[in-house]
Point group: C2
Chain length 163, copies 2
């Protein structure tokens, strides 16, 4: 479990996707434009997200990405694990070949700490982020663009909650 900007990008992109997927597949070009993340980088990230079965893709015109599960079934931990390679830096890589009586020190310390952080992030679903985001949006109504987006978000939430 690492926490880097890579994981943040992925979560941001997934949140954007979650907020819009009722209108059919969402293109990476759109996410790129809205979130200020380069298209090519998104392609890499979504390649991993797809292989982790968090999203599904539709090729061709009108294609794009959709969530492979409901927003309630996708956690922040899922996303971060999908894009941040395992790496599992317990130094001995799970094997017990560290120092003699010190071998468990780094090992147990980080495996348990990792487990707890992972556990914590597993309980934060995309659904809760969407809700939070929706609350922010409606409380800061600015112009037409925001209004349109808010409406779309409401649909997105209603639609995916029903499923």
């Amino acid at each position: 479990m690492r926490l880097t900007t890579k994981g943040r990008f992925a979560v941001t992109a997934m949140l954007d996707l979650a907020l819009r997927e009722t209108g059919g597949p969402v293109t990476l070009a759109g996410i790129s434009e809205r979130q200020g993340i380069s298209l090519s980088y998104l392609e890499q990230l979504f390649g991993k997200l797809r292989r982790a079965q968090l999203v599904e893709s539709v090729r061709g015109p009108g294609g794009g990405y959709t969530l492979a599960r409901t927003v309630a079934e996708i956690s922040v931990a899922d996303i971060i694990v999908a894009v941040d390679e395992p790496v599992d830096a317990t130094q001995c890589g799970g094997r017990e070949n560290c120092h003699d009586n010190h071998r468990c020190m780094t090992h147990d310390l980080w495996t348990s700490l990792n487990a707890t952080i992972f556990d914590y992030l597993s309980k934060i679903s995309l659904a809760s982020l969407v809700d939070n985001q929706k609350a922010k949006d409606t409380s800061v109504v600015q112009d037409q663009r925001t209004l349109r987006r808010t409406a779309a978000c409401s649909d997105a939430i209603a639609g995916s909650n029903a499923a």
Copy 2:
């Protein structure tokens, strides 16, 4: 708040220090040998830990480092923040210069998530890690045969960093 191997090294080193400081200042050379972390790298890390006032140094023969506070007053979060540069990757760096109506999305998401993780790690003190470690040590008493493996293990660690 990032979680990288750098922070892990620092926490490991601090734990080693906490476990031994009753016998006076602990040298970096000792920590280096026991934990398999290069001396020069430890120098860098402890420079930061000292500037963050988590440790105090004693120069000259018999010198080394001691904790600047009690083990109960030092948290894992303190250590990680001390060595992992701020970076604060909210993309807009705290300023509100992100995209128009999307600016708060990444921003709020990560500041709140960061805060929660930070909060969590703030509650894990060195004292609890020390207690945990002591329990492990006494329950898994090693014998002389194990001690000889130490040298070989250092090599194993150096090699497995690539993985």
